[in-house]
Symmetry: C2
Subunit: 183 residues, 2 copies
């Protein structure tokens, strides 16, 4: 699911957006940081995650090319940042001002387009909540594949398992089941 | 969190929105229905939920006065409806066309306002995902209280427990802990 077709669209939203490059493994944002960032991925792959009180990582989203990643809760409710964002590959991003999505200079058509993007993300998040609550692990894996078709070979299996909330062993079982059934 | 301050705002969004009333216990929408509805609660209390493959209910959201409830996934991706919506109290609603949020006739200011509402909901949903993934039950209960301050006395304890993904016994323990600590 590409949220934005072209990096130029981000520059239209926020002409003062800045390009930054990061190396694989670099952390762009940490829980507790002051200023939540909104990040468009030009090239590469980011991950957002939390670390719970027991020190365990939980992956919230992956963000490959043309995805946007940010801490919507921190941005919207002026809450402390909860999400870590780091690089799973060397990555080039555009960092832009989230408030620009509906700024004065944009045409009504642009604003509607940005709003539809938010609505689309709502659909994705609803699906994620329902999956976490009530779906068998195999359905969650198929949701992962349909949301991120380009990622299975770019992400370590243990991270996919973390995203799904299952063990790497359970993921391995699911993958062989799918392979055998020919889906 | 009131998403809309006044029912008149919905009529501004969609002048052809229709008022309907339902009795406590009535089901407004079922999984598998054809046409996903977007529903603003004028008076009363709705609940959206799924029933998993084992027949177990999982509550997605509550919607008291001034909240909007709908199946964003079905609406946005033309997917089959997954969410049941039913009435926990006698309820009066306005059913409106979700596509009207960004329709032609609205001013730029109205569209921006509606878009901010979507963004706010994104923040709420992000919090829900992070809670489901990595928070102790007591934190989840406090999130419930801050999101729905008016609800603890309007909803049976077992439903609050379902929303939190814990047993009614665990909820009872949490409530007495909070009462003892004076928070």
């Amino acid at each position: 699911m590409k949220e934005i077709e072209n990096p130029r669209d981000i520059l239209k939203i926020d002409p003062s957006a800045i390009v930054k490059t990061y190396k694989k493994g670099q952390i762009i944002q940490r829980a507790g940081d002051n200023k939540p960032q909104t990040i468009f991925v030009n090239q590469g792959l980011l991950r957002s995650y939390i670390i719970d009180t027991k020190g365990k990582e939980h992956i919230f989203t992956f963000a490959p090319e043309n995805w946007i990643v940010g801490d919507a809760e921190a941005l919207e409710f002026n809450e402390p940042i909860k999400l870590f964002i780091d690089c799973l590959e060397d990555t080039e991003v555009l960092i832009f001002d989230n408030n620009s999505l509906f700024r004065e200079g944009l045409s009504r058509e642009d604003i509607s387009k940005n709003a539809r993007m938010l609505y689309r993300r709502l659909g994705v998040l609803q699906r994620r909540v329902l999956m976490l609550m009530g779906s068998p692990a195999i359905d969650r894996y198929q949701y992962f594949l349909s949301t991120y078709p380009e990622l299975p070979n770019r992400i370590p299996q243990r991270m996919i398992a973390t995203f799904l909330g299952i063990t790497p062993q359970a993921l391995s079982t699911i993958r062989s089941k799918i392979a055998k059934s020919g889906n």
